[in-house]
Structures are given as structure tokens and as C-alpha cells.
């Protein structure tokens, strides 16, 4: 069992919500989805590969009969699954430092959420509501989100250079090549192993 595979960490969290609060949360997510500028900070933090929230209403736990006992609970639950780069501490420090308002808007509806600032009680809460991953797979363990974005830029630039290079004489090619290098020069970081999580 490990929460980590290569450069990416799988965090799972489950928090209880009073059912009336779930409605408010859905409203916020609707807004976040459709008002793209609100997602800008999340994009700029650039260490999340994929993340999702799943609202699980108390009556919607999958029920398949066949002897299964139906669930009978009072709270709705908010499931959170994140695939992020870096250490657990680094991840939470960063969110607490720059995205505290957004975090609060998502989790204030969960019972006993202490707020995302200051960071120590916030980390204690996450540690309490986090549960561990049994099996974690990534198709590209050696690449962080930044590596992926850079790789796609390099691929696109190379494809473009190949096109331009058709029927160039050497001088024209050298010029196109220089422009290509300038396009990719900020995107050539090596990929490989991640530092030890601590």
C-alpha cells in the first residue's frame, strides 16, 4: 500500500455534511465550473494533475440488493480525490497560503472544519479525514504536471519545426531552428524520480 507513485500522491478524504449544506456546496461547484477565471488560481498552482470532488448524498450509496444491507445515515458526504505533485506538507502549505478562500468555500460546509488558515489545525483536520490508498497507478510516474505541460509544448514546437523545415536551405533552417530552441528553452527539464516525501 502506498499513497505515492513516482511524482504523484493520491490523497483521499471524506467529510460529513448536513444535507441542507450540500445544496449550497453544489451551487458553489456549479459556479466554479462555469466561471472559468475562478479556476485560474488552481491552474496556476500547477502541482495538481487531476482532482475531483464527489458529493455523495446519504441515500445514494450504490445498492445492489443481493443481500446487501441498505445504508441508513444522517449526513451527506463529500469525497475528495487528488493527484498532486510534491509532499503532503508542501501541498497543504501551498493551498493554505494562496487558496484559503476557495478551500473554505468548499469545506466550510463539512462538520468541524477549522478553516484553512492557520495551517496547523487545518493539517490536523486533513490528517483525520484522510484515508489511505491501496493501489495507485500512473501511466507516467516520472512526470509532474509541469513536466507534462512542457512536454506537450516541446512536441507541438517540434512538429511545427518539421513542417517549416520542409524545403528550407541550411541558412533558413538554422534560423527556424533557433526560433524553435527559443520556444522550448524553458521546457527542457529532465523527468525522473521524485524527492523523498517527508
Amino acid at each position: 500500500m502506498s499513497n505515492i507513485n513516482g511524482k504523484v500522491y493520491a490523497m483521499n478524504a471524506i467529510t460529513p455534511m448536513k444535507p441542507w449544506k450540500t445544496v449550497v456546496l453544489r451551487g458553489f461547484f456549479f459556479l466554479l465550473w462555469h466561471v472559468k477565471p475562478l479556476q485560474q488560481d488552481l491552474i496556476n498552482l500547477s502541482f495538481i494533475e487531476f482532482a475531483r470532488w464527489v458529493v455523495l448524498p446519504r441515500r445514494r450509496f450504490p445498492f445492489l440488493g443481493n443481500g446487501q444491507v441498505k445504508e441508513d445515515i444522517k449526513y451527506d458526504y463529500l469525497l475528495f480525490f487528488s493527484n498532486f505533485n510534491g509532499t503532503w506538507n508542501q501541498y497543504i502549505d501551498a493551498f493554505s497560503a494562496v487558496l484559503s478562500k476557495g478551500l473554505n468555500l468548499v469545506w466550510r460546509w463539512s462538520e468541524k472544519f477549522p478553516g484553512s488558515v492557520p495551517v496547523t489545525p487545518f493539517k490536523e483536520y486533513i490528517a483525520r479525514v484522510q484515508f489511505d490508498t491501496d493501489y495507485y497507478y500512473t501511466a507516467y510516474p516520472q512526470a509532474a504536471a509541469n513536466d507534462l505541460k512542457s512536454a506537450h509544448i516541446v512536441q507541438a514546437s517540434l512538429d511545427s519545426l518539421c513542417q517549416r523545415a520542409q524545403g528550407c536551405n541550411p541558412e533558413q533552417f538554422a534560423d527556424a531552428y533557433l526560433r524553435f530552441v527559443l520556444e522550448v528553452q524553458a521546457h527542457l527539464g529532465e523527468t525522473g524520480e521524485a524527492p523523498i516525501v517527508f
Binding site: K7, D41, N44, S46, F47, N85, G86, N89, Q90, D93, A94, S96, A97, V98, V117, P118, V119, T120, A144, N146, D147, S150, L178, V181, L182, Q185, A186, H187, L188, G189, E190, T191, G192, E193, A194, P195, I196, F198
Partner: protein
């Protein structure tokens, strides 16, 4: 915030003394009672943060302890176990986290550091070698009279002297000594660029709790600290690393690669660090050094990278950009504020001018000391994530060219533009320019805490 009581804080924490010579004695305590008596006798000599209105003293004395050192005083277990995990483990056990592997691994350290015997660091700084020897002799006398500790080894360090005057140069020829952070309440001559960036572009001091225990930190809380509070308050943690510099390798590498670099040798060297050899920030003066900037405190550290996101002036992986990214990660620099460290330290070994021969085997380098309220959140983070790794700087696994543990692999990219003097350029097959020869994590207590240690008065609750 409450005013700092400078008489309770060791002077070494609050300001760099700018004294040209130093000797660090590494002590081992055999017996708790005699160790206490030693600290008691030492206490009146310890230099505090009190201002020197009568001019600098001839010499200063400061002291710090490893976890094993504190344990030698027979402090209660509850206190010892309340110290941060990384401090309890010591730097050697954290080697994996710090990437102190290969050439930097503990098996290759100096004898002093390979064995787990260092209990305390006694730092003596002085105006001259004579003053240094004099103060050391007095300290050794105290050690002998009390029988409180043995000296395991000592380390000398001194500012590089050029043309008869001490400078802030280090062995590779770069001017150092910029970049120590400003903290709220710490009285020192400050410059724009040393604190934290505010939304309006000005610089404000960092929260005191980023340096000193017992004060609010940048996260809006009191940092986690050992108990009892009175033992921890006004104290801080110190990281000590002896960094050997492979001067011959560095010079040969620079010579070799700059022959193919359109900007020339000095510019390539400047691109490695982010400052020209005289200290001019490359970001402010990308084409040549400019002493009017380097020597102007209003400009020499007043740098932001917002106008240079692609690194065409100051490369994205340049040393000073890596260790103090300022606004390079966006969010008005808010991701940086809890990752700052205060550096003290001096070069050691004989300085060899450019053009004269040097060998990697000669003992020379820099004694690196970092002061911070949390070793794991500040120093270890910068070392692991920003020096030995590059993801935050969008550089993947690329390491800091100057200090990275390269092992002959890896690369450094100089981002450029279309001009012939500033071309894009890649340096490959990086050797270890710097090698770690040892070190450890220390706790630098307040004057009050030293008194408690001396009197055996530490109670965890």
C-alpha cells in the same frame, strides 16, 4: 507585536557580525553536572543581540546544541521528545531527504561528523587572528577548569582577503552576503528586496516567527515549538554544513563551456548564479556588471522576475532565483514567504586568485550556516525542492548548477534570445562543484534557556 528583548537573544541570530575571522569548536559533554557548570561559567561571555553602541567588540562567543548535546544535560524525556523530528534525528539520518548521497553521503564526511559525537557548537568570531586566539584561549581555559566538555575538533573560517582587505567574496570568485531576510522587530540595516513582496510591489519585513520561536509566523500562528515554551522562546534552529568547493573543477568547467558560449566567460558565470562576480544582479543588468547597482543597497537586492518569466535575463535555474524565487511563482510571492532562511557563515581555506593554480584536493570551501524557526519547513524544503530538484521552477529534475549533487549528469539551461551575446545555451555533464563534508542540526537557545540548562531547571510542563 511585542518588542524583541535583544538581551535575551544570542547576537549570532539577530545580525551577521561582519567580523573577518572565526573559529568553531565542536564539543562533547561527558557528564551532565560538569556540563551544567560549564554553561554557567560560559553564560556571561555569550554575546547577546544587544546593540554595540560602543563599537564592535574584539570577539564574540555563541553556543548551540545538537539533540544528543541536549540529552547530555539529562533534560526530561518529555522535553527532548518535543523537539522537531528532524532535529531529533540529526542531519545524517536525513541524508535521503536532502539528497546527501553519492559524493555527499555521510560515509565520505570528515571524521568529526561521521561519528555521532558532536554535542555543541561554540562559535567564536573576532576582529583579527590575534583577538581570535586570545578569546579561544579563554574559552579553552573555562573548558579545562570545569572539566565540562572535550573539544572534538575545531574549524577555522575567514573572510577572503584581497589586497589586504577582507571581502565578501567566496572561492569561486562571486561576491556573497546579499539576501538575508528582514524580520519584523529585528533591528538591522535593511534593503528593499530582502523581506516579503507586498501586492503593491513594496517589500515588508517577514514575520518574526520565521526566525525566532515564540513569535507569530507567516502562517498566522505560533510555530510548533519544543516545551517548555520558556526553553524554546527567543531560540532558533541552526543548520551547519561544511561545503567543500572543487575550485579546479569549477574553473575548468567554466573555461571549457564558455569557449562555446556567445556571451563569454564572465557572463556564463553570472548566468549560473544570477549575479555577476561583483554582485550585480543579472536581472537588473543582463549585459555587464554595474558597480553602481551592486553597491547601492536600494538596488542590489531589489529584484523581481515578473518581467522575465522565460528567464532570458536571469535564467530560470540560476542559483539566486532558485533559492529566493520572489514573484517567479506568481501569487505575489506568497508561496515563498515561509521558505526563507538567514545565512551566516564564512569561507574556509586558502583563497587562490584567478589564473593561479588550485587543486580540488586542497581544503577550501564555505561553512554554511542557516538559521530558521523550522528546519524541515525552511532549510530542508529549499534544499530538497529548490536545489536538488526543479519542479517548482518548472525545470523538472534539473538541479541547482552550483550546489546540486550532480554526479556527472544533468544539465543547466541558459535561456536566451536571438542576440549573439545572449544565445540559448545548455551546460551538460555537470560535475559536483560543491561537496558536503559534514554537518548537523543545532538548537541555538536564548540567554534564559541557557540559564535554565546551566541550573538544571528544565521542566517539560
Amino acid at each position: 507585536m511585542s518588542k524583541l528583548n535583544e538581551t535575551d537573544i544570542q547576537g549570532f541570530v539577530l545580525r551577521g557580525y561582519n567580523l573577518p575571522v572565526a573559529r568553531y569548536l565542536f564539543l562533547h559533554f561527558e557528564d551532565a553536572a560538569r556540563a551544567r557548570s560549564l554553561i554557567g561559567r560560559l553564560l556571561p561571555h555569550v554575546t547577546t543581540g544587544q546593540r554595540w553602541d560602543g563599537g564592535k567588540p574584539q570577539s564574540t562567543v555563541n553556543i548551540a546544541f545538537t539533540q544528543k548535546g541536549l540529552a547530555a544535560f539529562e533534560l526530561p524525556d518529555a522535553t527532548l521528545l518535543s523537539f522537531p523530528v528532524e532535529f531529533q534525528q540529526g542531519m545524517k539520518k536525513r541524508a535521503g531527504i536532502l539528497n546527501d548521497t553519492g559524493l555527499n553521503s555521510p560515509e565520505r564526511w570528515d571524521d568529526l561528523w561521521r561519528e555521532d559525537r558532536v554535542h555543541a557548537w561554540l562559535g567564536i568570531n573576532a576582529q583579527s587572528p590575534a583577538a581570535l586566539d586570545d578569546r579561544c584561549a579563554k574559552m579553552l581555559e573555562l573548558l579545562q577548569q570545569t572539566g565540562g566538555a572535550r573539544v572534538l575538533a575545531s574549524q577555522d573560517a575567514a573572510a577572503v582577503v584581497i589586497d589586504g582587505k577582507p571581502t565578501t567574496r567566496e572561492h569561486f570568485g562571486f561576491t556573497d552576503g546579499f539576501g538575508n531576510p528582514d524580520y519584523l522587530g529585528v533591528d538591522r540595516s535593511s534593503q528593499p528586496g530582502q523581506g516579503k513582496l507586498m501586492p503593491d510591489g513594496s517589500w515588508a519585513p517577514l514575520a518574526t516567527g520565521e526566525l525566532l520561536l515564540g513569535y507569530a509566523d507567516e502562517a498566522g500562528e505560533l510555530p510548533v515549538a519544543p516545551v517548555p515554551h520558556i526553553l524554546a522562546n527567543n531560540g532558533t534552529f541552526m543548520v551547519y554544513r561544511k561545503l567543500h568547493q572543487n575550485l579546479a573543477t569549477f574553473r575548468a568547467y567554466l573555461e571549457g563551456y564558455s569557449a562555446h558560449y556567445g556571451g563569454g566567460k564572465e557572463k556564463l558565470a553570472a548566468k549560473f548564479i544570477g549575479r555577476w562576480r561583483d554582485g550585480t544582479p543579472v536581472e537588473l543588468s543582463p549585459d555587464k556588471p554595474d558597480s553602481s547597482i551592486a553597491q547601492d543597497p536600494n538596488r542590489s537586492t531589489n529584484i523581481t522576475y515578473g518581467a522575465d518569466p522565460e528567464g532570458t535575463r536571469c535564467p530560470m535555474g540560476a542559483h539566486i532565483r532558485r533559492v529566493h524565487p520572489r514573484d517567479a511563482f506568481g501569487f505575489n510571492g506568497r508561496l515563498i514567504n515561509r521558505r526563507r532562511i538567514t545565512r551566516r557563515g564564512l569561507p574556509y581555506g586558502q583563497f587562490v586568485a584567478e589564473g593561479e593554480s588550485a587543486s580540488d584536493a586542497e581544503e577550501r570551501g564555505v561553512i554554511f550556516m542557516a538559521l530558521n524557526a523550522s528546519i524541515s519547513r525552511q532549510f530542508e524544503f529549499v534544499q530538497q525542492q529548490w536545489i536538488e530538484y526543479g519542479n517548482d521552477a518548472h525545470l523538472g529534475n534539473d538541479k541547482d548548477i552550483l550546489m546540486g549533487n550532480h554526479g556527472g549528469r544533468g544539465k543547466f539551461t541558459v535561456q536566451g534570445d536571438t542576440s549573439a551575446a545572449n544565445p540559448p545555451f545548455i551546460c551538460s555533464n555537470l560535475p559536483n562543484f560543491v561537496e558536503l563534508r559534514g554537518g548537523d542540526y543545532f538548537f541555538l537557545p536564548s540567554i534564559t534557556a541557557l540559564g535554565m540548562l546551566a541550573m538544571g531547571l528544565v521542566d517539560p510542563r
